[in-house]
Subunit: 179 residues, 2 copies
């Protein structure tokens, strides 16, 4: 499928509500359990998404539009949420994520993203030259990846409970996402 | 995490709304695209979930409670949705899934599921002896598995669009779910 800006935004604006509907009010046994060392709980993932919206995605877009390839992006601390949101409830993180995402999409809208702007280039600190279009497509896939990670870690809580059916449930048996 | 009936139901009742919020009104490019032969689109997955709610999960629970191990479950046609719902819109399938799930949870509620009932046994045509508790846990993981499958197939539409970032996005590179 060819990348189209308007179609990308359709996903970006749905992610916070999707996670709110899936997670808000669930017993903590579902939302704070990991699947072992190196894996994240649903709560951790929501914090990670919030931190990205607060510090990373739109800031990188701004760097591309204002500085092009001259100024590399700052690197992103993918585990910052563990300290940053300590003490916050899941409901607070979900509400903050909805608000941050709405603000970010409003900012994008103000920038009047054109095909010419989408083709502009920036410099990723590890990956090298990237375009604004690639950044926004990655934001979308990053959302989808982490929705997938949430349902995966939740499913693992029932790895034993399903008994012999585990043979039919790939989500329980394939290597788990760790980032 | 130990299986608890009330916690399982919390997930079951969220799945249709989660998928409605994620999918309703999206451009068809997102919802009807597969990731190649043998993979399902988001539309296909919603049909599969609906068919399961219309014919399988609660029927199997009923067989366990009424017949125990004496009567094996009917086998489930996991690709029945391709013919059964031909011509239906995604919105129709989502609405039908919400309704079917609500009806099924009302039925479960009427049955007053106790720990004694959860321990009762039935016969799966391929897997052999299973319990009602395992059936209900599997229903939950089956939901989560298919939410994961939907975000996975959608993410693949941007496999090219993300450019070099694909190196960081496991959802784009690991073997895709096919059922």
């Amino acid at each position: 499928m060819e990348y189209q800006y308007a179609q990308a935004v359709e996903i970006l604006r749905r992610t916070p509500t999707t996670l709110t509907v899936l997670l808000r009010g669930l017993p903590e046994a579902w939302t704070t359990s990991t699947a072992g060392p190196g894996t994240w709980s649903a709560y951790d993932v929501v914090g990670h998404l919030l931190h990205g919206d607060e510090t990373d995605w739109v800031e990188r877009a701004r760097i591309i539009l204002e500085h092009g390839e001259q100024r590399p992006f700052d690197s992103f601390d993918r585990t910052a949420m563990f300290e940053k949101y300590q003490g916050c409830t899941l409901d607070q993180l979900l509400a903050a994520f909805e608000q941050a995402r709405a603000n970010n999409l409003a900012t994008l809208s103000e920038w009047h993203i054109t095909p010419e702007k989408l083709a502009r280039k920036g410099t990723h600190p590890a990956l090298g030259t990237v375009t604004l279009s690639q950044l926004l497509a990655t934001w979308v896939v990053h959302d989808l990846n982490h929705i997938g990670q949430i349902v995966e870690v939740m499913s693992r809580q029932y790895a034993e409970a399903v008994g012999p059916w585990s043979a039919y449930l790939a989500i329980l048996t394939r290597p788990i996402l760790t980032e």
